[in-house]
């Protein structure tokens, strides 16, 4: 009993039998997941496996049809999306959701303002300068030092992906979810991204959906593999590398329930 209580305390994110159906489609089907503080977890799986829907459920962009989400031991299943950032959850999106007519600095400033509050204040106060300084520091951290005053619409794809991460870093997050951060990046940019992710505060929990195995397996310690809305494998990076099921899924040989049960045991 005490051991279990200890495990519950260590888990920052616990998901119980979570399901999300869109009509007849079970996008996420009876998923159980427990993520420890400071854990770096990659979520792998072919397209349509339910990875992004799982992220949407955790961030509150979509609500589940069944199941429970606990964040730091608190039930957050029906917490509105805008309140989840106060629990320390931030995320990026697979296709960038940025404020294109605004500058890089203004984009990060908005992310900082989101956590700081005072959204209805129609006055400029000294703290806004402090927010801007924080925004500048974050933009520099993701490698956008020379692009601070540039309108986001005129950034390159890679730069927009960097900015996505800067927005998720604002407001000292405790659980960060990155949805395909390396998608469309050049090899050099992938290297820089990996370095950035490895340099994060070790107490921050990181969930990464990523198709690039080099990035995913270098950053992650634990890997969860999803297929058709279910979790079909879970383990350390070494275990997953050796798992024949994962090879099957990614090489397109299809998957049988027998190999799935093998993988679980």
């Amino acid at each position: 009993m005490p051991a279990e209580a200890g495990a519950a305390e260590a888990a920052v994110l616990r998901i119980h039998q979570l399901s999300c159906r869109f009509g007849g489609l079970r996008a996420v089907d009876n998923v159980d997941l427990s993520v420890a503080r400071g854990e770096r977890r990659a979520i792998l799986g072919p397209n349509g496996a339910g990875k992004t829907t799982l992220f949407n459920l955790i961030s509150g962009d979509v609500f589940p049809t069944a199941g429970r989400i606990e964040v730091f031991g608190q039930d957050a299943t029906s917490t509105p999306a805008r309140k989840r950032i106060k629990l320390g959850i931030t995320r990026t999106y697979q296709t960038s959701r940025l404020f294109l007519p605004l500058t890089v600095l203004e984009n990060v400033y908005l992310a900082i303002l989101g956590v700081a509050g005072g959204h209805l204040r129609p006055l400029r106060l000294p703290q806004d300068r402090a927010y801007r300084e924080q925004a500048r520091a974050l933009a520099e951290r993701v490698g956008l030092r020379d692009r601070i005053a540039v309108t986001v619409g005129s950034l390159s794809h890679g730069e927009q992906r960097q900015l996505e991460i800067a927005l998720a870093l604002a407001g000292s997050p405790r659980i960060m979810m990155l949805d395909e951060p390396a998608a469309g990046l050049s090899p050099a940019e992938r290297g820089a991204l990996t370095e950035l992710l490895l340099s994060l505060d070790p107490s921050v929990t990181l969930l990464v959906v990523e198709h690039d195995m080099d990035v995913a397996l270098r950053v992650a310690q634990v890997v969860t593999v999803m297929h058709e809305g279910r979790i079909v494998a879970e383990g350390s990076t070494a275990e997953i590398r050796a798992n024949p099921l994962v090879h099957d899924l990614y090489l397109g040989r299809g998957y049988s329930s027998r190999s799935a049960s093998d993988a679980r045991s």
Partner: protein, 338 residues
């Protein structure tokens, strides 16, 4: 020495703007009473009303057709208080603005959950409801409206001498323009621009998107209500005709001609609209056709309206003159891009 071209253009622009400024300030002295009133004053008042529409579109991405209904609420309130209750016009104006903003916030609480075309349809419905409400309820004078509304003594009689009224409208225009420009750069203003560009992202960043939309609608109503008060003082009456569907469409036309993306466009569009409206009857009785053609010509030339054309022209000239500049010092060109 290629710089002289660009510097010359900048000076020309400055002189031009200063010239426009001087003319705007001296309208009552330079022009006849009729022109100062029918063109000058009308442009300023319609410009304020259109600015409320452009603010909502440019900053928050909400296209509202309820702005005439809102200025109608302010206009009817000020008229009823001044004529029937004998309330001091300034106090009546203040109450009218407050009531309009409260009504807008209540309406915004309901309407702000819908977006795009659905929001537009709800505001259109509210414009129609306001029109029928004021034209049916006898307490508001039904079809006749409320007549004999006297503006504050300070402003004189607008039809005899529009000077006082003109400067009041000019000061209101400048203050409201300055206010909108300032608010854009505050946390509230940035939050609204965020809602315009990426509401989903705003939500996960911790913003209450419906509440921001509601507050924006209230702010737009503040601007529209001042136009409503000025309009009633200027006409000395208010009637359902001032808020019917034709006026709603006129306001949208003004905003589009001026430029839906730029606040300045409100007054530019209002000026062109007022000129066409005032002088076209001398030549034709087809005012609607003429304003429709003007609308088409402007929209075809530039989706940003007249303000967009002016900015495009400025950029074009600067690029032509800046070509030499870039050859001399590429650093300058980059700084400009930033």
């Amino acid at each position: 020495m290629k710089l002289t071209g660009l510097a010359g253009w900048l000076w020309l622009k400055r002189i031009g703007l200063a010239g426009v400024g001087v003319i705007v300030v001296l309208v009552p002295q330079l022009f006849s009473t009729f022109t100062a009133s029918a063109i000058g004053l009308q442009t300023l008042v319609l410009g304020i009303a259109a600015a409320s529409l452009i603010f909502l579109n440019a900053v928050v991405g909400m296209v509202s057709l309820a702005q005439t209904a809102l200025y109608g609420i302010a206009g009817y309130t000020v008229a009823k208080l001044a004529v029937e209750q004998g309330v001091d016009p300034w106090v009546a104006a203040l109450i009218a603005v407050l009531i309009t903003v409260v009504v807008a916030l209540l309406f915004g609480a309901l309407a702000s959950r819908s977006e795009g075309i659905y929001f537009l349809m709800i505001t259109l419905a509210s414009a129609v409801i306001a029109y029928y409400f004021f034209s049916q309820v006898s307490a508001f004078g039904s079809h006749e409206g409320i007549n004999g509304v006297a503006p504050p003594a300070l402003l004189g009689k607008p039809f005899v001498d529009p000077t006082g009224m003109y400067y009041t409208a000019l000061i209101c225009s400048l203050l409201l323009y300055g206010l909108i420009v300032y608010v854009r750069r505050t946390p509230f203003g940035y939050a609204l621009q965020g809602v315009r560009d990426e509401p989903v992202r705003m939500r996960t960043l911790g913003f209450n998107v419906p509440m921001l939309r509601m507050a924006a609608f209230g702010f737009g109503a503040l601007i529209a209500s001042i136009a409503g008060v000025l309009l009633v003082w200027y006409n000395s009456n208010v009637s359902p005709g001032a808020i019917d569907l034709t006026r709603t469409i006129d306001l949208l036309t003004i905003a589009v001609i001026g430029g839906l993306g730029r606040i300045e466009g409100a007054w530019i569009g209002a000026l062109l609209f007022t000129i066409v409206q005032t002088y076209s009857p001398q030549y034709t009785d087809r005012f609607e056709t003429l304003i429709g053609l003007t609308f088409l010509a402007v929209v075809l030339a530039s989706p940003g309206g007249l303000a967009g054309i002016a900015i495009g022209l400025d950029r074009w000239v600067r690029r032509r003159l800046g070509e030499g500049l870039e050859r001399h010092g590429p650093g300058q060109g980059r700084a400009d891009a930033g």
